[in-house]
């Protein structure tokens, strides 16, 4: 009975996702050719059911399930909703894959569900074993997802991803085992209670740095950032959307919880994260300036955005966490909008975007607002998000001003990279070619998400209050 109660009160969204994995896998055996058109709708209905079931779990007070290895509270509910919202849009944008690969439609969605399950588990994990299980599940399903189109490029990309993932997860495991040597516990809460009164030490610092470094793989940050541009370029755009959203949300939820619990004992980890942030930003802006492939550009853009969130992680405290949460919310919508634009236009090179402002003015307007949000210009949510990040770091003390100054100067370079894209769209070409009608889902997604990006700037007060509520509840 205890087991069933745990599932009822803490595991409902995951359970529904598992059910839909089985449904999709079963349908993929027999009905691929007949029912491929319905696969997308079945997938969306699964996500919506799961999202609805979030309302039925016990968030307040915190519920510990399965002997304390899975936790359910306001924080996890928030992150799970973010993941499900992001997956909803990823499935909406997957129309292209369904059309091209009919015989693999259900298989693709089964794999996508597996990855979503992994990220949901990672959010709920209260134990390093569960966290590693989620880590591996997410990694393996992502590897297979990248390889779905089964072309030469995607096979290389998927192998590259797998190798990097193995390396990163082994570093993560090394850190976990070091931590086990120091504390003798695997559960987050037990580790926290064992650490209180602990005087610090090299082994603990090393353990945490290894754990953090391992998770950096999931969030496209240094030292494992280099895979992002190459793999986004080689795989299909919907999988790129998935990779730049869901592992990042899950990774940040795990990372901020670990750092929030331990950073008081080991201040060194914060400095390491800040240095990672600066390196990620430098690599990102350098790559973004020189890039001509739009998907690779998206990879570098992801790195730039992630480094802002890492900046908060470096100084994480209950009162700075809300900046990270707000940034994540705004990042989800602007990233989806930009990927939707890429999928909608369906061209690989940035130079193909020349003169788009005169051919498709509203598309351009939406893209410009999204890009402005990525840089941090008003009137978009990116402006407030970056302002909150900077203010969170400033709040911590005068030493951090150096990091802020470097970050701000790098933002100018990032601005130049994004401006290049805007500039390309406004270049005049002599004879505008009339384009055929583009997929309607990606168009709706683009307009909807860029609209949300603008709305979040003005309707920020309630969102910030929500983010602060969540941060202080932890």
């Amino acid at each position: 009975m205890d087991f069933l109660a745990d599932i009822r009160w803490a595991f409902l969204p995951e359970l529904i996702i598992i059910t839909f994995i089985f449904i999709s896998a079963f349908l993929s055996l027999f009905f691929n050719k007949k029912l491929y058109k319905t696969s997308q709708w079945i997938a969306i209905s699964g996500i919506l059911t799961s999202f609805a079931s979030i309302g039925f779990v016990q968030a307040e007070p915190t519920y510990f399930a399965f002997n304390g290895s899975v936790v359910c509270n306001v924080y996890t509910v928030f992150f799970k909703s973010l993941i499900l919202i992001a997956s909803f849009f990823v499935i909406l944008l997957s129309k292209e894959i369904v059309k091209k690969k009919r015989e693999k439609a259900f298989e693709y969605f089964a794999l996508l569900y597996g990855a979503i399950l992994g990220s949901l588990l990672m959010v709920g994990a209260n134990d390093f074993l569960v966290a590693y299980f989620a880590f591996a599940l997410l990694g393996i399903t992502s590897t297979l997802l990248i390889g779905v189109p089964q072309k030469y490029n995607t096979k290389i990309a998927s192998t590259k991803f797998l190798l990097t993932e193995i390396f990163a997860s082994s570093i993560f495991l090394l850190g976990v085992s070091y931590l086990y040597i120091v504390v003798g516990q695997m559960n987050f809460d037990s580790i926290f209670s064992a650490l209180s009164g602990y005087q610090g030490g090299l082994l603990l610092a090393l353990a945490l740095i290894f754990i953090v470094t391992g998770i950096m793989f999931k969030i496209c940050a240094t030292p494992f950032a280099n895979y992002a541009p190459d793999i986004y370029k080689d795989t299909t755009a919907p999988v790129g959307t998935f990779l730049s959203l869901i592992p990042i949300i899950a990774g940040f939820s795990l990372l901020s919880r670990i750092l929030l619990l331990t950073s008081d004992f080991v201040p060194l980890v914060g400095v390491v994260v800040l240095i990672y942030a600066l390196i990620t930003m430098s690599v990102g802006v350098y790559g973004a300036i020189t890039q001509n492939n739009i998907k690779s550009f998206m990879g570098y853009s992801t790195m730039i955005q992630v480094s802002f969130m890492l900046l908060v992680l470096g100084v994480i405290k209950p009162y700075t966490l809300s900046a990270l949460l707000y940034y994540l919310v705004s990042y989800i919508f602007m990233n989806i909008a930009l990927w939707a634009a890429v999928i909608n236009y369906n061209k690989n090179n940035i130079s193909d975007y020349t003169g788009l402002a005169y051919k498709r003015p509203f598309y351009t307007l939406a893209v410009i607002f999204t890009l402005l949000s990525m840089i941090g210009f008003p009137p978009t949510s990116g402006f407030l998000a970056k302002l909150f990040v900077m203010s969170a770091v400033t709040r911590l003390g005068i030493i951090y001003l150096v990091f802020i100054l470097i970050m701000l100067l790098l933002t100018v370079v990032a601005f130049f990279a994004y401006l290049k894209l805007i500039n390309t769209m406004f270049k005049k070409i002599p004879n505008p070619i009339i384009e055929q009608e583009r997929p309607v889902f990606s168009k709706i997604t683009l307009y909807f998400c860029s609209g949300i990006t603008i709305l979040l700037c003005f309707y920020s007060s309630k969102i910030i209050e929500l983010c602060e509520l969540i941060s202080y509840s932890l």
């Binding site: 008003p378 009137p379 900077m390 100018v412 401006l419 003005f458 007060s461 309630k462 910030i464």
Partner: protein
Amino acid sequence: MNFLSILFLIFSPAIVALLLLSPIFPNNNIKIRRFSKGFSITHFIYSLLFLLYFNPTNLGWSYQKELTFFGSSWINTLGIRANFGLDGISLVFVILTSFITMLAIIAGKRMIRTKTRIYYPLVLILQTAVLGVFSAKDIFLFLFFWLLELIPTYLLINQWGEKTSKSAATKYVICSFLGSMFLILGMLILYFYSFTISGVLTADIENLSMSENVFAMWFQAFIFFCFLIGFAIKLPIVPLHTAQFTAQNNSIAPVSMLLSGLLMNMGGYGIIRFNLGLFPEVFDKFAPILMILGGINMLYCTTLAFIQTDIKKVVSLYGIAQCGLILLGLGAMTEVGFEGSIFHMISRSIISAGLFMLVGSIYLRTKTTQIFTLSGLGEVMPICKNFGIIITLAAMGLPFLSGFAANFIILNGIILSDIEPQGFIVTIGAISALGIFLSAACIFRLFNDTFLGSVTSKFKKLNNKENNIVILRKPITKTEIIVLASLALAVMFLGIFPNSILDIFKVTTDVIIDFMKV
């Protein structure tokens, strides 16, 4: 005065711009142009009503209003509110903004021949941004509008003008963004360290203060210079002037008018509102440095103007040189000098706009701005020449025109200054007098070489109505006459009745200076 809503004043241009861009508005160039022209004239009259009902003896802010979203403040938990208000200084800039934008929109009829559908909306969005900067009462709201202005400006410089305008636009926008980054840094530090003093998390300009000697001088100076760098790129101050300079001389005439008439004032306003208003003690200490920077600004730019062969470059260098005079007036730390600086900002904007308009008119007909190929245009463009005389004389600083009043008040302020030693003030006074003389000389050279002398054979038939080969080579049009005449009238009005403007902001400036002296 219930019908005077500051929110309507600020946001109506942006709403009209969105209306013009939206598909429901007919895609007809003439309708778009006439609608935006009518709107901007109405907006100017509406802004004049604010002046009519303004009480100059009021010490605080007038017409205060908070913008709320769905019943709550903008960012309630962080103490950031969308508060708007006008005091004497901002009111004059608001009216000036409305005036110059109106003229830029009217001038667009002749100067903008392509992409009219986006020109007028962009100008109107720019107007909203600039109005917001002048009326924001909250530092982050100020930042919001400060950054909002960049993208319309980028597109305005980029989309029209010659080939070099693309790189000029990029340079301008990158440099401005770099300055804004320093501005953000300064604002964040100010925000949090003011919080540690007062214990209240607020971003309201009135409640922020660094003057309580809690922090070391170097720390305050650091924030002061963060702000100064941000504003120096806009004002501009040598050596950070290159972005403004290239942007102004690579864009078309109405955009140059906007750049020098509106955007340069934003820098000056920022220095007054933040550097002077929030750091009076630091400003007191660094005033001599500001005066030296101002002197360098004047001498360097006027010297540079003498060797230019492009009349547009001469005009933009003149505008930048005059910014030195603004700094000199502010650095003098006297009430007279301070008032003179603000008056000079207004006068300079109008004169620069007029000069750019003249250059634009000349370029429209002759297709060149090279000083050696132009001569004797007064013969073929007599009306343009007559307006040119008024505006040039105002730029040179002749009595009964605005330039004279501005220069005189500022020089007066510098001499009255009590900065020690006395020799420094005398030297600075001499330098500023020399600067005024040199800029008068370079503007006179401009007038002399273009309008006077004998006309080149190439341009002899400019006035010929039968010459239909190039449509643009027509005699002066009504729109140009309206723009030039209103600028000339404004210049004469400011020159004859300087007190009418000075009285508006006298109380506000006196309060700031008294606060500093205590």
